[in-house]
């Protein structure tokens, strides 16, 4: 119940954040503007719009998760709204979890909005929407939930700017972790390979969540793949949230 109260409050507060609307505006401009790129193609308009719609949802979602997420705790400390709340008879983790859920709800609204806008736009342009398109968006949302958990963890540990830089770097590099698996054969059996493999598992593998190719070209994906990726996202997110709760538990405010 308390978690829900905090979540509701967080949602209401972040909906009022102007940065959110600036980012959404640019996302809309990007999506609508992608049609212009279609003019210089030879009939790939719809594919290009789909690609850009999905990428825009991903990138702007990540930016929102980072900007709103990393400043979350810091703003509360800076503005001292935190003191009276934490002095209430509640556990610290309830606060962090509430904050997280509020953010996640915000991102759900953002994602759904962008999906609806993109879908309507694509249909208006005469394209068709394949199930894979919506599965791609579902996985993007799971990715955003993971990154948000990371942002909340960082906001308990460090200042918002440093936290934003760290989360952003992880977000970019997280798409590249598969590179640790493409090692040429001379690496077999070395400690370097073991180290890189460990790195592969520790760094969140964000390329798992990328179904853009299949979505834009109308190709089916297997249910098994989607389910396991969602499980991965859930497990990793929970890891991050537990760490965030631990960090916040010990924090002097």
């Amino acid at each position: 119940m308390r978690i829900f109260t905090i979540a509701q409050n967080t949602f209401r507060e972040s909906i009022r954040d102007k940065v959110l609307y600036v980012l959404l505006f640019f996302a809309a401009v990007t999506i609508f503007g992608s049609k212009a790129l279609g003019w210089i193609s030879i009939g790939q308009d719809i594919k290009i719009v789909k690609d850009i719609a999905l990428s825009a949802t991903s990138i702007f979602g990540i930016l929102i998760a980072i900007f709103v997420g990393t400043s979350l705790i810091y703003k509360e400390i800076d503005k001292r709204t935190l003191y009276t709340i934490l002095a209430q008879p509640m556990q610290r983790y309830e606060f962090i979890l509430g904050k997280y859920l509020g953010l996640v709800a915000l991102l759900a609204v953002v994602t759904v909005t962008m999906t609806v806008v993109s879908s309507v736009y694509i249909l208006l342009l005469g394209g068709t929407l394949h199930l894979t398109f919506f599965l791609a968006i579902l996985l993007i949302y799971a990715k955003l939930m993971l990154i948000t958990a990371f942002a909340v963890l960082m906001s308990s540990l460090t200042s918002p700017i440093l936290g934003a830089i760290i989360v952003f770097s992880v977000a970019v590099f997280g798409h590249a972790t598969e590179v640790f698996r493409d090692l040429p054969p001379q690496f077999d059996g070395t400690s370097a390979k073991a180290l890189l493999e460990a790195a592969y598992y520790v760094i969140p593998n964000l390329s798992n969540f990328d179904l853009t190719r299949e979505a834009a070209n109308g190709i089916d994906v297997s249910g098994a793949y989607v389910v396991w990726v969602l499980v991965y996202g859930l497990m990793y997110t929970m890891t991050l949230l537990i760490l965030a709760a631990l960090a916040f538990q010990e924090k002097d405010v």
Binding site: K79, R80, I85, L86, V253
Partner: protein, 311 residues
């Protein structure tokens, strides 16, 4: 059961690359139920640190603290506490009513209880007129009232207030003083910090003084202060020049104001003699005031470096 007990409470701030700062050093404190307890000290003495530890916002480096027998690290302890921080902030976009409702939910109060609390507190703190305006733009006094209401939400038996009167005009300070007294009448315990001695002197039963993180004095005010009269101030009128002259010889200080003569005499005995002389020689006593050491005097006295601190 004591409302607050601390045992050897210490807090050291360590930062990478800087020297560690000992904010609290071995604090032993006991506050009894239904007391109004003043926690005094200069800025930076460690008052806010202590309060934050009691409210579990900070972790002590060593030592323990208990509220009504529960360790302060548990949520149960916080159940008993109503906390008003220095310069409280709230979510600017909420109204006072929404704010109190929010905190009521955090205390797991039912909707009926929340409404009941709202009715009670909005009357007590005069919030009805501003009930539905957003907090953004409120004055310091209004925010303090809301903060007090939040602290009282859920009717906790212990109120911990950090500098509750700072930044308020005389009317505001009076209001807070009255509230504290009311709470005391309702059998609550009040623990608050301040560096404004005159406020404290009027309402506290007992006080502690914190100097650079260490507790130097504690106890009842009247027991701490010197019981002897420091001086006596007599305001007179209608004196003859001669009376004035003789009295001035006895007095340690003299000034004339409008048509009054004001003398300060070193003790009660001398003052009584002066009064007798006045009555014999003619003149009117407008006011006779024994000056005792004020808490402020006492406090300032503590601040002069002792041998220990000079080391």
């Amino acid at each position: 059961m004591s409302a607050i007990v601390t045992k050897n409470l210490s807090k050291i701030y360590r930062e990478v690359g800087k020297a560690s700062v000992k904010s609290l050093d071995g604090l032993d404190l006991t506050i009894e139920e239904n007391e109004v307890y003043g926690f005094l000290g200069r800025n930076g003495a460690g008052k806010t640190t202590t309060i934050k530890i009691l409210c579990s916002l900070l972790k002590p480096t060593s030592g323990e603290a208990f509220v009504f027998g529960e360790s302060v690290r548990t949520p149960q302890a916080r159940q008993h506490i109503g906390y008003l921080p220095e310069q409280p902030y709230f979510y600017e976009y909420l109204t006072p009513k929404e704010t109190l409702d929010f905190y009521g939910k955090l205390r797991n109060l039912s909707p009926a209880e929340r409404n009941h609390q709202w009715d009670k507190l909005s009357d007590l703190l005069d919030l009805r007129d501003i009930a539905d305006q957003r907090i953004k733009g409120f004055s310091k006094g209004m925010r303090q009232r809301i903060g007090f209401a939040v602290a009282l939400m859920g009717d906790p038996p212990l109120l911990i207030l950090d500098e509750p009167m700072s930044g308020l005009d005389p009317i505001g300070r009076r209001m807070i003083r009255d509230l504290i007294m009311r709470c005391r009448d309702e059998k609550k315990t009040l623990f608050f910090s301040s560096h404004v001695m005159s406020d404290v002197e009027q309402i506290c039963d007992r006080v502690s003084i914190l100097v650079k993180g260490k507790l130097t004095h504690r106890g009842r005010i009247d027991q701490l202060l010197e019981s002897q009269t420091k001086a006596v101030e007599i305001i007179t009128a209608g004196l003859s020049d001669e009376t004035r002259r003789t009295l001035r010889e006895r007095a340690t200080d003299y000034r004339a104001l409008d048509e009054q003569d004001i003398f300060v005499l070193p003790d009660e005995a001398a003052a009584n003699e002066a009064v007798q002389q006045l009555q014999q020689q003619g003149g009117r006593i407008v006011q006779f005031t024994p000056i005792r050491e004020s808490l402020e005097d006492f406090f300032l006295r503590q601040q002069t470096p002792t041998n220990e601190e000079a080391r």
